[in-house]
Symmetry: C2
Subunit: 272 residues, 2 copies
């Protein structure tokens, strides 16, 4: 069913625009009856681009018969002034918060575009790239080498969301994550793979509702024993029992996004 109201939204930034977009999305999420058509204008860092953007925003408003909404994170005042003179409804995230924050800190902000000219030249950035490489090399129990370096070791039966969660933790927070599947051999033996024993403080488990797991596995291998509800039930009960015995914290990923799972893991393991 099409939504009754439609508005065009521009995300305007002198950098990637990802912050403007994150902020815009959380505001738009509060108006479920509105269909937002989204247009991204990143890297708007000179006056010519500013004037082009204004022309585009105004043209869209005329086309829609309704002014557009502009979410902006422009740092440069001159550029910001030009863009916000467009015939649109503008919410400028920096203008609203930067001046009060300057006052609170008793400092002038640098008003610079981007944090540094070379975005890759920070230790945080290098850490994130290393974390992604580590995490890819330690996906799905590929290896138990260098586990001492891991920040988090995820364990779960197959298809609970270990891989996307691991990659999110690496990409967003720069954490090195290894993940290991819990498999029937582990349940028969009755304890954790021995290589994980001494990293107990880094272990975190995922579990899932059997019905949900059954559905996900059916999409991969329809009508297999692996995907059957009975087998999903068996694996999950065994996995939860094992985590309980071993004192591993876990969460149920059935209705949680990778962002929610990741944030919960950070909190539970007291990371950063």
């Amino acid at each position: 069913m099409p939504k009754p109201i439609s508005r065009t939204v521009f995300f305007v930034s002198d950098s990637t625009g990802l912050t403007a977009e994150a902020l815009g999305h959380s505001l738009m999420g509060q108006f479920e009856q509105v269909e937002f058509k989204q247009i991204r204008i990143p890297f708007l860092d000179d006056m010519e681009k500013a004037r082009d953007a204004v022309a585009r925003i105004n043209a869209q408003g005329e086309k829609d018969g309704m002014r557009s909404i502009v979410f902006s994170t422009l740092v440069n005042q001159e550029i910001s002034d030009v863009v916000h003179a467009a015939d649109a409804y503008s919410l400028s995230f920096f203008e609203n918060f930067l001046v009060p924050l300057e006052k609170e800190l008793g400092l002038q902000s640098s008003h610079t575009i981007g944090r540094s000219r070379d975005s890759t030249d920070s230790s945080d950035y290098k850490k994130r790239i290393e974390a992604i490489n580590y995490t890819l090399a330690h996906d799905d129990g590929i290896t138990d080498r260098d586990l001492a370096e891991a920040d988090v070791i995820l364990v779960a039966v197959s298809r609970c969301g270990k891989t996307p969660t691991s990659l999110y933790l690496a990409m967003q927070f720069g954490l090195k994550v290894a993940n290991f599947p819990l498999i029937p051999e582990d349940f028969d033996r009755g304890y954790l793979p021995s290589s994980l024993e001494r990293y107990r403080s880094k272990l975190f488990g995922l579990t899932i509702q059997p019905e949900r797991l059954n559905q996900i596995r059916e999409e991969r291998r329809a009508a297999s024993k692996y995907a059957s509800l009975a087998n999903c039930r068996y694996e999950i009960i065994e996995a939860e029992n094992m985590m309980l015995r071993e004192g591993i914290r876990w969460l149920d990923s059935s209705t949680k996004s990778i962002e929610e799972i990741s944030t919960t893991i950070l909190q539970e393991l007291n990371l950063r």
Copy 2:
């Protein structure tokens, strides 16, 4: 060198807090002389947690001898009122922007916490997870199956940032990305791998400064021919010539973050 000024910052949210953090980071980036100690309080969704948070924020202020700064994205008014009564300097994202936006739209916002109770139950979310799976299965030229499904096909010589960029595009934007290394065999033959020929409109190239590539490759395989500056120069010249001949757009990733590379690719290929 330690920074001269230090302040504690809280990110407070009834959801993951990632939006509050994105906003806070981009504002903090404007005050390079300040060392910000960051504390995340996510999933703050009832009054008891609100009171706990206030106690924590106040205790931190006493410890620091200076009130903390609170960036919040609390939707519930009652909870928000409690948290913002803490002895801190609070910037409330929703309070500043939601009311003006309600006026512009002529609508009441839903004031609901999170977008829906089951975060995984949206088509956008499913698309992102599928995109991550596709992208992992099409990393580094593993396979040329199902390329018709790809939204983007990245090509570059080894170690230009293809893999992290591909994963970022998948995770952040839900795009299916395949990536292929350009290797000496391709240069000898003088044209693109034949499986890529018919997907020219999806192709995007990365290149890099030879000195930077040399440095990155030395970290992986020190003193190898593969890592030598002469070989890096050769591969990059050949790759750029090939992309030029084949009409493939490309960018230099030397000083660009995966966020910047990804946003540029979206723009250049006119995606979303």
